[in-house]
């Protein structure tokens, strides 16, 4: 299972693809069971340069009956920083946030590409 994520251009907010638009909550993200649908959405997103920056697909893993990003980095993006639990999306709380917080599983994030320190 995969989801499509990016950062919104005007404020940098982490967003997820949902049927042709971008939403802030991971819990509302569209889930792609087959690779082609995900890739088609990704191609579409890359054509929205005034909406988002750096769209990419992420792998998901099951957690407490819900889906969560497989990589730790992507879970932090979907939640917020672990040193300030009142900051970021996690501040909202609820079952969907807790499922992300309790998720395990590890993989290198697909977002970590072509990174060079400036």
């Amino acid at each position: 299972m995969k989801a499509l994520t990016a950062n919104r251009l005007d404020d940098g907010e982490v967003v997820f693809w949902k049927s042709g638009r971008w939403v802030e909550r991971f819990a509302e993200a569209e889930l792609f069971a087959d690779p082609e649908t995900g890739e088609a959405a990704e191609a579409h997103a890359k054509n929205q340069p005034t909406a988002v920056v750096d769209a990419y697909l992420i792998d998901l893993v099951e957690s407490e009956g819900l889906w969560a990003p497989l990589s730790y980095r992507e879970r932090i993006r979907a939640l917020g920083p672990t040193n300030h639990l009142g900051h970021g999306k996690q501040a909202e709380g609820g079952a969907a946030i807790e499922a992300l917080q309790h998720a395990s599983g590890a993989a290198r994030s697909t977002g970590r590409v072509n990174l060079i320190k400036r």
Partner: protein
């Protein structure tokens, strides 16, 4: 403190206006992200995990209360009510919106601040001794030279597109509080036997994936020849530094490839060509020096009854005084270190309210002067001994009186994977775990000076290579692991630490530090610091203890 002139102010206003237009064009789709990225980076604006990050330059870590209040207000209006002080004596805001950035740059410009040259392949903010102008140890005031370099290097047309970023540090004390030996150029102020002022010039130090303690390429450079010599160093680098591989593009790689002697020879040859025309006239240095004229100190005796009585009456104050005060050059004054390392807090974070309080204290008791240290703390450089008890009480009310400067919980940590797009692992929670483990201040004082530095990736913003204990976060198939190094130092006795052994999982790091400390307390002789013991014994006894379970 240096004051901007009309030309500087006009330039900053123009630059903010230009960026406003560029942001509007980007939002309208007239320029692509690839085109815009370099523009925003030139204005200190990065895109990180959760939002944009704006890195504001604090020239040589020196601030006045008006500027600190402006930073507090920006934190309140555009961020989440705080800012993060960095290992380059700068301030980062981690929750910035692109659309707000032009307004923020206007607010910075209004107090003579900006984010120019806080990113990109140019000469970055100069690091200087945070005790400048206050410590009796210094030969000269390093801010004079830092300010001259700031003016010379700002928008320098020849050095605006170097092979890679370029960082300069200046110290004028034997005790180095700038990590000068691990900078691209480290300048150590020296005085010759005949009294002439000059610099020992160290080139090619650095951290990151290839750490080096820089070699000295000139033992004594007369101070009035500084700028022609810097120009020669930069020219040799600009000409021969690698541009084909950004991992090998820093000057340290060039110096190591050529050898320090050959590099120095090429610099000397270039210096001949540049000649004295490349130097600043003495009158200009004198003008800048005038802006740092000694603050008007009262004539006092070096003993304050009020201070002595407060120490005798209040053990909490006495402990803070023991750990967070440093001797001042003037009788009756003290340098005050304000720890931004509250137990369990994020190293280097200060809330807007805390920044306002420090600004107030600087105004009321500290001659309008505030410094940022590369160890992510703040300093009030000139406080009367008579005023220390009230300053402490105010700091304590604001959660800023943790008495741990230079102790085990005074930890440097980069933002790590909690914020940074480059990070492999988190750094902040590791620092929090360790600080909590050593919360007992009696034990922390028994252990004495111990510098722990944590980076979330090999780029080493958390200076892990030069920690007495260094901690590097690595990614093992997507899981956070931490490699420990021992015996590094960023001070005058600079050294790159040695690897202890295989990386540890996050939940074993604080416990491993505890084991390292126990070995130190067992092995130490006389007044040895942790670092001294490691240097005498080597890593073997430490390694044996930490990995005992695995054997």
């Amino acid at each position: 403190m240096y004051q901007y002139d009309t030309l500087d102010k006009e330039f900053l206003a123009d630059r903010a206006a230009e960026f406003r237009e560029q942001v509007a064009r980007r939002l309208a789709g007239e320029i692509t992200e690839d085109q815009f990225k370099m523009i925003r980076l030139m204005n200190g604006l990065y895109l990180q995990l959760h939002a944009y990050m704006l890195r504001v330059a604090i020239p040589y870590g020196s601030l006045n209360p008006v500027q600190l209040r402006a930073l507090a207000e920006i934190g309140r209006k555009y961020d989440k009510g705080y800012g993060h002080f960095t290992t380059r004596q700068n301030l980062q805001f981690h929750w910035i919106k692109l659309a707000d950035t032009p307004a923020i740059l206007d607010e910075l410009a209004a107090v003579d601040m900006h984010a120019i040259q806080t990113s990109g392949n140019c000469i970055r903010n100069v690091t200087a001794d945070p005790y400048a102008g206050a410590t009796a140890e210094e030969i000269d005031d390093p801010r004079v030279w830092s300010e001259a370099i700031r003016q010379w290097s700002s928008l320098h047309p020849e050095f605006s597109f170097l092979p890679r970023k370029f960082k300069i540090a200046i110290t004028a004390s034997a005790k180095d509080r700038t990590a000068a030996k691990v900078h691209d150029i480290g300048l150590m102020v020296r005085r010759a036997r005949d009294g002439t002022l000059g610099f020992e010039v160290i080139v090619g130090g650095g951290l990151g994936r290839t750490p080096y303690v820089g070699p000295t390429i000139r033992e004594f450079l007369p101070a009035n020849r500084l700028f022609s010599y810097l120009e020669a160093v930069l020219r040799v680098y600009n000409r021969h530094g690698r541009r084909d591989n950004s991992y090998k593009a820093r000057i340290k790689i060039l110096v190591a490839a050529l050898g320090a002697e050959e590099f120095a020879r090429q610099v000397e040859a270039e210096w001949e060509k540049v000649g004295a025309a490349g130097d600043l006239p003495d009158t200009e240095i004198a003008r800048i020096r005038g802006a740092f004229a000694p603050t008007s100190f009262d004539t006092l005796v070096n003993r304050s009854e009020a201070f002595e009585e407060a120490k005798a009456a209040d053990p909490i104050f006495a402990r803070w005084a023991r750990n967070n005060l440093r001797p001042h050059k003037r009788p009756g004054y003290s340098i005050v270190e304000i720890s931004l390392k509250g137990i369990g807090d994020t190293p280097g974070d200060a809330s807007s309210d805390q920044m306002d309080l420090v600004a107030d204290l600087a105004e009321r008791y500290g001659q309008d002067d505030i410094r940022v240290t590369h160890e992510q703390n703040l300093v009030l450089p000139h406080v009367k001994l008579d005023d220390l008890a009230v300053v402490h009480a105010e700091l304590r009310r604001a959660g800023l009186a943790t008495p741990n400067v230079n102790l085990i919980s005074d930890i440097i940590a980069c933002p790590g994977l909690d914020y940074c797009a480059l990070a492999n692992a988190r750094a902040i929670p590791i620092a929090q775990d360790i600080a909590r483990k050593f919360e007992n201040q009696d034990r922390a004082e028994l252990i004495g000076e111990l510098k722990i530095k944590i980076s979330g990736c090999i780029n080493a913003c958390g200076h892990h290579h030069i920690g007495h204990i260094g901690i590097l976060g690595v990614d093992k198939k997507g899981e956070e692991f931490y490699q420990l190094t021992l015996g590094g130092s960023g001070a005058e006795d600079a050294a790159v630490g040695s690897m202890l052994g295989p990386a540890l999982p996050a939940n074993r790091v604080a416990e491993a530090i505890d084991v390292l400390v126990d070995v130190y307390l067992r092995e130490r002789q006389d007044e040895e610091r942790f670092l001294d013991t490691v240097r005498r014994t080597g890593v073997a006894p430490f390694k044996e203890a930490v990995y005992a379970d695995a054997n």
